[in-house]
Amino acid sequence: MHPGRPVLAIVVLLVLLGGAVGLQAVRERRPDLTPPQVSQSSLLYIRSGSVLQRAALSYDGLVADLYWIRALQHFGRTKLSTREGKQYDRLYPLLDLTTTLDPRFDIAYRFGAVFLAEAYPGGAGRPDDAIALLRKGLAQQPAKWQFAQDIGFVHYWWKHDYTEAAAWFRKAGQMPGAPNWLEPLAAVTLARGGNRASSRRLWQEVLATARVDAEWLRPQAEFRLAQLDAMDQIAAIERVIAAYRARVGDQPSTWADLIRTGFLRGVPRDPSGTPYAMNPYWGTVTLQPDSPLAPLPVEQAP
């Protein structure tokens, strides 16, 4: 390039850059010009945490962060995917690698357990893996009452094993620094199992804790409390329908029947603002399928 012609040089450079950008744009539009696709998210190059720890040299903390971000992306992408038969099969290995590289990565254990335990397709539907991950955390930090509480929680909410849940709540309550509501919660769980009142108590305590030291749990707790509110509202509306049936002698066909006769003031809406659906044959009330709160958890006898 001639040193005395800077304008010409800039123009030539811009033309060259423009050419490269243009070719890239062409590649975008031509599938035959794009490189063969290998799904990066489906690859897990190293499965052994100890090998990865050595390979990371002294940067295991940073590599753990990268694996944590990968775990979040894998979970988020799979959760949002509309593909049939989608799988969260790399979620546990990614969380396991993260926590092997950085054994004090508390949120990877706790948040990871939420992802693993959540029922499929919203989550991996693997409460056993969630418990294994939390137990690994507890082995690393035996005084961390939050891990024991979370194990109890997974037994309670996802496995409906109230005896185990109570045992873990009690264990957590006896750890140093644990809040004083955990041991009473253990007693309530053991006595009343998975009834709605004890579930509400559990989520209210989780929400109170989340406001202090686990902000990431707040949306989950608020969501579950809204679901419990919806279950209470459905029960109340079904009682109103029963009263209508007793007075009129027939099932209401629509919400309008109940409003016209003064049993309801308007179309009842769930806590997300979506109208409830009524089955006119059975007189039952459910969430609309497109309600953000659907599906409601299944209540099981203790």
Partner: protein
């Protein structure tokens, strides 16, 4: 006066590195951290401060390592290659003063780098600290501005001083490429030190076990300088550990520089 001569060579090396735009890496470091602090909050489910700490300490270490290796290996070689070594050695400067001055100059460059990077690191953490709601901040197990991070930075600097010494040693007798390979090789092996110590658990041969054990003691133990995880989680690192590890680094460095001076003193430049 030996120290005055060493000082002059060191200042020249520092000025040369400034002229060579080595300090531009500080801009890259600052941009990396600031960009990461904006992006990571969106990706990491509330772990942004922890990740910025990991990233900041790793970046200080990696940038420093690259400078130590890739400038360290050229310190002596460049003078020989340009034949300016004849002019330098014809002046009232002894060979050991030249080698030690070169080393001190690069360490000065590295120290300035590390100090500025640490200041920028704390600057980004301070912004994150002030931007976070006080109620959430109160729940952090470790403050964003935790001074424990400085302990990790101190040991990173000692590690970099040792790496620089090793790079300089290799550059006194071999080509830059070979020096870089050997220095980086030693640095990697130095992080596998614990494996060398435990070879008896996987080997049956006594001589192989003794060899591994011997290498464990002789090769520089770089893993000892790594307290980044403790610093990030605010776990205390005993002052005795820091003092002992620093003393180990300084003693090993003295050995490496002694070897570099000895080799360079015996080199024939005809």
């Amino acid at each position: 006066m030996t120290f005055r001569v060493i000082g002059r060579v060191a200042v020249n090396v520092f000025k040369e590195s400034v002229r060579d735009k080595v300090l531009y890496n500080l801009v890259v470091f600052a941009v990396l951290l600031i960009a990461a602090s904006f992006l990571i909050g969106q990706l990491t489910a509330g772990q942004d401060v922890k990740i910025i700490k990991d990233l900041g300490l790793a970046a200080i270490s990696i940038f420093g390592l690259l400078i130590a290796v890739f400038i360290g290996i050229g310190l002596v070689w460049k003078e020989v290659e340009k034949r300016s070594i004849y002019v330098i050695l014809s002046k009232p400067i002894r060979r050991h003063e030249f080698v030690l001055g070169k080393y001190a100059g690069l360490v000065l460059t590295l120290t300035v780098n590390v100090v500025v990077m640490t200041a920028a690191f704390y600057g980004v953490l301070a912004v994150m600290h002030w931007k976070t709601d006080p109620a959430i901040r109160a729940a952090w197990s470790v403050s964003a501005l935790d001074p424990h991070l400085l302990v990790a930075v101190l040991l990173i600097l000692v590690e970099l001083m040792l790496v620089t010494g090793i790079a300089l040693f290799f550059s006194t007798f071999s080509s830059p490429f070979l020096s870089a390979v050997l220095t980086l090789g030693l640095w990697v092996i130095g992080h596998f030190n614990a494996d060398l110590r435990n070879f008896d658990q996987v080997l049956a041969s006594k001589p192989a076990i003794w060899l591994a054990r011997g290498l464990y003691y002789v090769l520089p133990n770089f893993s000892a300088f790594d307290v980044k995880a403790q610093a990030v989680y605010g776990l205390p690192v005993a002052p005795g550990y820091v003092a002992f590890t620093s003393a180990y680094g300084v003693l090993y460095l003295a050995f490496v520089l002694g070897a570099a001076v000895t080799v360079f003193a015996r080199r024939d430049f005809k």
